[in-house]
């Protein structure tokens, strides 16, 4: 298609955006479906899947449009900076989302459980309601919710997973170097390694979940420990999955030669995201598994 010559003196403002409304419809279908599913309706599941499908189509369409404009050269430096800021602040919002769950972990572990065990201002709580409960961590609470359980030992698969993610952080950096030196083959190879490590992490993590549910007796219902353990690692796992999918897309885009040594915001955004996922894992490894 013929296009007018990109004008780098002007900030590019698209005149129409068709995808957002599709996204809204998709997200709404997704959550209405999920809510119906939670309320026990059968059709909810289908609606939810339909919603997910619409959102996926929207994402491909939307990013496709942006990539197209980018490749055509409509974006000047200032647009690039806007994208960068957008990504940085998005990652900051993700950090705060995890902060809520880390906050819950710290608050429960440092304050609630000791109070239930009778420490400090919890003396009467323990004496009147939960006599005999001793504050220990991990715990499933004074009512022993979910029954006896064992925890996942830190220096086993989680340690392996830590090494995997750290390595993947390294490989994605190698990919970035390769990109800066305009070595496309090396770029794709390093990215492929990163993607492989990401999916291998998830493979091990899913195996750990199965192990926890089937053999350790550790479930979402295992009191506050099970709640914080699975919600933190689960949301992290969702982010790893998302990051790995994004890396895969970037890998294919690299193969098509979308990025130049100068201009590769898409690559960098995903790399930042991957590092963020990595850092969250280090927090998890320390506070959920080791301590």
């Amino acid at each position: 298609m013929a296009h007018a010559k990109p004008d780098h003196n002007h900030y590019y403002v698209p005149h129409h955006a068709h995808w957002p409304i599709v996204g809204s419809i998709g997200v709404t279908a997704l959550v209405v479906g999920a809510a119906n599913m939670m309320n026990g309706s059968d059709f909810g599941v289908y609606l939810m899947y339909a919603g997910i499908a619409i959102v996926v189509v929207m994402l491909f369409g939307w990013f496709g449009e942006v990539i197209h404009e980018s490749v055509q050269g409509f974006y000047n430096r200032q647009v690039d900076t806007s994208f960068r800021m957008g990504m940085i602040w998005f990652i900051f919002s993700e950090v705060m989302f995890f902060a809520a769950f880390f906050g819950a972990l710290f608050y429960a572990r440092a304050l609630v459980v000791p109070w239930l065990g009778g420490e400090g201002s919890g003396a009467m709580t323990n004496a009147v309601l939960w006599q005999g409960f001793e504050a220990v961590w991990p715990t499933n609470g004074p009512a022993n919710l979910g029954g006896e359980f064992q925890t996942v030992p830190a220096f086993d698969v989680p340690l392996v997973n830590t090494l995997i993610l750290l390595t993947s952080g390294l490989t994605v950096t190698m990919a970035h170097w390769a990109l800066k030196k305009a070595q496309r083959k090396a770029l794709v190879l390093w990215l492929a390694a990163t993607v492989a490590l990401g999916f291998y992490f998830m493979y091990l993590q899913i195996g750990e979940y199965a192990h926890a549910y089937n053999e350790l007796g550790l479930t979402l219902g295992s009191g506050i420990y099970g709640s914080t353990f699975f919600m933190l690692t689960g949301f992290h796992g969702m982010h790893v999955t998302l990051g790995a999918i994004m890396l895969t897309v970037i890998m294919f885009r690299s193969m098509k030669g979308h990025f130049s040594d100068e201009n590769h915001f898409g690559f960098e955004a995903v790399a930042w995201y991957w590092h963020f996922v990595d850092v969250v894992w280090l927090g998890l490894f320390l506070f959920v598994y080791v301590l």
């Binding site: 109070w115 239930l116 201002s121 919890g122 009467m124 709580t125 004496a127 009147v128 309601l129 939960w130 006599q131």
Partner: protein, 292 residues
């Protein structure tokens, strides 16, 4: 207008403002002084901070009205072009800090008073349920449920046709009052069986949440016998507005007599229905030693 007239007008406006504020609190309802040491302290703090706010308000709004009256274009006022004044800015940063520190000191003292339950002579466990209160005199084997009295309960039905004004203490009367002795430091242990409630009798000077799974402590010591009324203060579902609290303070001797009567014929008919009944029994034993 001449300059003198303007000053008179401004002074009149300010005086009017002060009068209006004073009048509002003279005529309008205010926080009760209450019947406990703590409630009086809370009332005093309330009045101090209120008057501090009124004085600052009169000064700031006064300056604003002076400006509005004098510095208007229709009077031919020319706009000055100053943009800052370090002196003024330092002053209105430092002076509020001094006022706040002066306010924080008594507030801290009163708060420490409230949070010191040591030295209590009697324990009463209060459990909130949707939508009633359960009272247990720890170690005495006396406990009962207290809920909205039948007259209010009939009148509060939608379009009941009963005029609330015709009901004595509409929504502020219960079937079984919490009876406590005067001049006795009583510790309350508050918890809940379902959702969060909040136990509040204004005349005692505080409210404290009753939270399922946790026990909160609070205390009171009432010198004047009488009947004091309050309500649940934390939204707890559809009948949140219909679970009042009535405390009847009796002289010590009368209270002891009342307690004996309660122990006598009455079966302990209510604790069985609640999940933590067993725990309370165990706790009773644990706590008996601390009750005089």
């Amino acid at each position: 207008m001449k300059k003198q007239n303007i000053v008179v007008v401004i002074l009149a406006v300010l005086a009017g403002l002060l009068l209006a504020v004073w009048g509002m609190f003279a005529v309008g309802d205010n926080m009760p002084r209450g019947v406990t040491e703590f409630s009086r302290e809370a009332y005093d703090l309330h009045m101090i901070i209120l008057w501090i706010c009124v004085v600052i308000g009169v000064l700031v709004f006064g300056a604003m009205f002076v400006s509005i009256i004098l510095h208007r274009k229709s009077r031919g006022a020319e706009a000055a072009q100053f943009t800052h004044s370090t002196k003024a800015e330092v002053a209105w940063t430092v002076i509020p800090i001094i006022i706040l520190v002066a306010m924080a000191i008594p507030a801290t003292r009163v708060l420490i008073l409230m949070e010191t339950t040591a030295g209590y002579e009697m324990d009463i466990k209060i459990t909130g349920y949707q939508w009633k209160w359960h009272y247990e005199y720890m170690g005495e084997g006396v406990s009962f449920i207290s809920s909205l009295d039948s007259a209010s309960n009939a009148a509060r039905i939608k379009n009941s046709g009963i005029d609330p004004a015709s009901v004595d203490n509409y929504l502020l009367e219960v079937d079984n009052r919490l009876v406590i002795p005067a001049d006795t430091k009583i510790r309350f242990l508050l918890t809940a069986g379902d959702v969060i409630h909040s136990w509040w009798v204004p005349e005692l000077g505080w409210k404290r949440d009753a939270i399922p799974g946790l026990v909160n402590e609070a205390w009171t010591e009432v010198s004047e016998p009488g009947v004091y009324r309050g309500q649940c203060a934390e939204l707890c579902g559809k009948d949140h507005g219909f679970m009042p609290i009535v405390v009847e303070v009796l002289p010590k001797a009368e209270f002891n007599q009342w307690l004996v009567e309660q122990k006598g014929p009455q079966d302990d008919l209510d604790t069985s229905g609640y999940a933590e009944a067993g725990d309370s029994a165990a706790a009773d034993t644990a706590l008996t030693s601390t009750v005089n």
